[in-house]
């Protein structure tokens, strides 16, 4: 387990670095894909099987494909000149490191890890059924259609809006040219 975690974590981290650092846009996109796949592995480690699948199918499979298409359409070989020694790099870097450090310290001190589930939607602690059922499709679906019905419906509305918006925004405007 720990080994798998280690490999996946390193891969995710490298992917993330790659997104930020790559000169070419397409390399950034591919790094992000790698990151997402590693993340899916981590989700599996965390008993979120359904979500791991969704991550691969939707995020890596649809969203990133869209990204790659757009990159290919707009700026296939786009290179950006990076200026590594700006003030903002220094400040941003320090802030990023500080952020990570703080979270790490808090995590290592074991904040707010309560065994008892405080939220509704939990099965109760540590029963074998609970442990087994955690992350299964049935479990998720049950929650989605009962306790979290409203967010679910609103999200579907959001997707509709996004689709309509995308169609509208990308139509050819011959008149304004």
């Amino acid at each position: 387990m720990t080994v798998i975690f280690g490999i996946a974590a390193v891969l995710a981290f490298l992917g993330a670095v790659g997104v930020v650092v790559s000169r070419r846009t397409i390399y950034s996109a591919l790094s992000l894909v790698a990151n997402m796949v590693a993340l899916a592995v981590l989700f599996l480690l965390l008993d979120a099987q359904f979500l791991a699948a969704v991550q691969i199918i939707v995020y890596a499979g649809a969203v990133m494909v869209l990204f790659v298409f757009i990159i290919a359409l707009l700026a296939p070989g786009a290179e950006e000149r990076l200026r590594p020694l700006e003030l903002r790099v220094l400040v941003g870097g320090i802030a990023a490191i500080a952020f990570t450090a703080v979270i790490g310290r808090l995590a290592l001190n074991g904040i707010t890890v309560t065994a008892a589930g405080a939220f509704h939607g939990g099965f109760g602690p540590f029963s074998p059924q609970a442990v087994d059922a955690h992350g299964q499709v049935q479990t998720l679906g049950e929650q989605l259609f009962t306790t979290f019905l409203l967010p679910f419906e609103v999200t579907s509305l959001l997707l509709l809006v996004a689709a309509v918006g995308a169609v509208y925004l990308s139509r050819h405007r011959r008149t304004t040219r």
């Binding site: 903002r88 400040v91 941003g92 802030a95 500080a98 703080v102 979270i103 310290r105 808090l106």
Partner: protein
């Protein structure tokens, strides 16, 4: 006395000129001239009528009961822990309370009566002046202030009236404000008055803080009657200072005298009076003859219980008075401006009055005030006629021959001069000789003050008859003088009324040695001022009377000799005793002394502040703040780059900072 009726009369007397001032001011001086002509003098004369009624009221009482305190309205009552906080008595109460007693009524009669006559005169004198309305507004204000000063029972309102008088005098002296000389003179008068105000106010503070009642507890009162009732012999003033032998009382007396000296133009605060002649002549008559300069005499007379407890202060008062009288008389002998001669004469006569109240002859001093108001106002107004007739010529060397061209004015001026010089049977003789003999009787054992006083007699006669001969006698020196003609009725009648008074009022009090058949005046004032303590023997008094009268006549003869018959050369003194002549001509150099010691250093300091301190420190501070803010704003402005990435950076950094702080607190 019927309190309600008296209250109404007081309200009318004080209120009419106030209304005049307010109406004039609130209509922004746009009233038609005819209205102002009727309103200005009319209101003051109405006030005079009310005052006469008050006099009748007062006289209807037996002498012991001639005095009433009327409470009008409570303005400010801060009595803390005093005897029940009774209104008008203990504690710091600035209540508008009026005291009507013989002294107050006397002052009011002079202020409104002679003031009214002068208002009528001004209708003629100021007829062509564009500031006609403004003039009457200020004159009404002056009458109001002066009335407030003398009617007030409460020390606070007395001080208020005192200061308002100073302001009104400034406004009137600097009336022709386009003239720089007038503005300077007004400023000088006002600044000197303020110095006096400091003395008065400090004296009042000391009285308030230190007066104790009969059982020894601190009274903390500003009510005059209460103060005077408790200033008796005995340790009633907390003897805190121990200086000057008399302690606190002496200090208070000296401070009060500082105030009186400023108002009455006594040394060393005398320099403003001659310069004040820059104002119109009616102003000189009103302010510098009849009323304002006598406020100092009034103050000392009113506060005589205090001065009776402070013989050293009283002695200083008397000495300064006589000294100023002599100095002013010497200066008056060499001046060429007719108004200046009369001004120095005022300074001199006031000096005699101050001397009288200094030695304790209060009633005599007030009698001299009364007669002096009549004949000095007369002299000023008659001089005004002359000036007006000669197209504003004031130098007596350019006059001459007016006795035939302005007969009535000449007659009036002559009557006034005879009164001033103390020639027998005219008003001044009675008052001045009574004053001097009281001075002899009540003054120090070695009568050197009296000697100086009678020396003043000679000079007084001399300088005024010098003017008479030079201005009215002989032949006209200039064509302007030749063309002069008599004044208009509106300017002539007040003059004649005053001449009549100057001739007649002396007979109100005939009080020499054992022979005092008529004591109307002094007995009128007796309830307030008491009777003088000592009297010399009748023989000494008779001698003093004769000596004084002879010296006055000597002065007259000298003037006749030099200027009438031209038997003695006018340049005699200037050649034989040039230093004396220079001292006289240059006003004893006091203006120069003050300029060198007070004015120049102050201006130098002001210059330093203006050149060095103000631009660098104050402007620097203010400009520095402005520049700092501007710089800061400009620097902060660069944060608004418009770049999305910069904003994102700032968001993230601030979020991280917040998180770090939170994390450190949780961990």
């Amino acid at each position: 006395m019927n309190p309600t009726f008296t209250m109404v009369l007081c309200a009318v007397a004080l209120g009419l000129p106030t209304v005049g001032f307010l109406v004039n001011v609130l209509t922004a001086g746009r009233l038609p001239r005819r209205v102002v002509t009727i309103l200005g003098p009319g209101l003051v004369l109405g006030s005079f009528v009310a005052t006469l009624l008050l006099l009748v009221e007062l006289l209807s009482q037996p002498p012991a009961h001639r005095g009433i305190t009327i409470f009008f309205w409570q303005w400010l009552n801060l009595s803390v822990g005093s005897a029940g906080g009774a209104v008008g008595h203990a504690g710091f109460n600035a209540n508008f309370t009026v005291r009507i007693d013989p002294l107050a009524v006397l002052m009011m009669l002079v202020i409104t009566g002679i003031g009214g006559l002068i208002h009528v005169y001004s209708v003629g004198y100021m007829a062509e002046d564009p500031g006609y309305n403004r003039f009457f507004a200020y004159m009404n204000l002056f009458i109001t202030s002066m009335l407030l000063l003398v009617m007030s029972e409460n020390l606070i309102f007395l001080i208020i009236g005192w200061s308002m008088v100073a302001f009104a005098s400034y406004a009137l002296i600097a009336f022709w404000y386009q003239r720089p000389a007038a503005v300077t003179a007004g400023r000088k008068a006002f600044i000197t008055q303020v110095i006096g105000d400091v003395g008065l106010v400090l004296g009042s503070f000391l009285i308030f803080l230190n007066l104790r009642g009969s059982n020894g507890q601190l009274l903390h009162t500003v009510d005059l009657q209460t103060i005077f009732a408790n200033v008796g012999p005995g340790p009633h003033f907390h003897n805190g200072l121990g200086l000057l032998g008399g302690g606190m009382v002496t200090v208070i007396g000296i401070l009060l005298f500082v105030g009186a000296a400023a108002k009455s133009a006594q040394w060393p605060l005398h320099t403003w009076l001659p310069d004040a002649m820059e104002g119109p002549t009616p102003v000189s008559a009103l302010i510098h003859a009849a009323t304002m300069v006598t406020a100092g005499v009034y103050l000392i007379a009113r506060f005589h219980p205090v001065f009776q407890q402070a013989p050293i202060a009283a002695g200083i008062v008397a000495a300064v008075g006589i000294g100023t009288a002599l100095m002013a008389a010497i200066i008056g002998c060499s001046q060429f401006d007719i108004k200046r001669v009369i001004a120095y004469s005022t300074m001199s006569q006031i000096g005699l009055m101050i001397f009288a109240v200094g030695v304790g002859a209060y009633s005599a001093g007030m009698f001299q005030f009364f007669t002096h108001a009549c004949f000095k106002a007369l002299l000023f107004l008659a001089a005004g006629n002359v000036i007006h007739a000669l197209q504003d010529e004031q130098d007596i060397r350019s006059m001459g021959g007016l006795s035939t061209r302005m007969k009535l004015t000449f007659a009036a001026f002559l009557v006034g001069s005879l009164a001033l010089a103390g020639i027998p049977l005219f008003a001044g003789w009675f008052s001045k000789e009574e004053l001097l003999s009281s001075g002899l009787a009540l003054g120090p054992a070695v009568p050197w003050l009296w000697v100086l006083g009678v020396a003043v007699n000679v000079l007084t006669s001399f300088y005024i008859f010098r003017v008479v001969w030079l201005a009215f006698g002989g032949q006209p020196v200039t064509s302007g003088a030749a063309a002069a003609h008599e004044a208009r009725p509106v300017m002539l009648i007040p003059v004649l009324v005053l001449a009549f008074l100057a001739a007649v009022v002396g007979f109100l009090n005939i009080d020499f040695f054992g022979f005092h058949p008529v004591t109307v005046f002094s007995s009128f004032l007796q309830p307030v001022l008491g009777t003088p303590a000592a009297h010399a023997s009748d023989g000494i008094q008779a001698l003093a009377l004769v000596v004084g009268t002879l010296l006055s006549l000597t002065g007259l003869a000298l003037a006749w000799g030099v200027y009438g018959r031209k038997a003695i050369s006018p340049g005699l003194i200037s050649q034989r005793l040039p230093w004396l002549y220079q001292l006289s001509l240059r006003k004893f150099y006091w203006d120069e002394i003050y300029t060198a010691t007070l004015v120049r250093p102050t201006l130098a300091c002001a210059g330093v502040v203006r050149r060095a301190i103000e631009p660098h420190i104050f402007d620097g501070l203010v400009d520095g703040v402005q520049e700092g803010v501007t710089t800061l704003a400009e620097d902060l402005r660069t944060m608004q780059t418009g770049f999305f990435r910069d904003y994102a950076l700032i968001f993230f950094v601030c979020a991280v900072i917040g998180l770090v702080v939170l994390g450190l607190r949780l961990a």
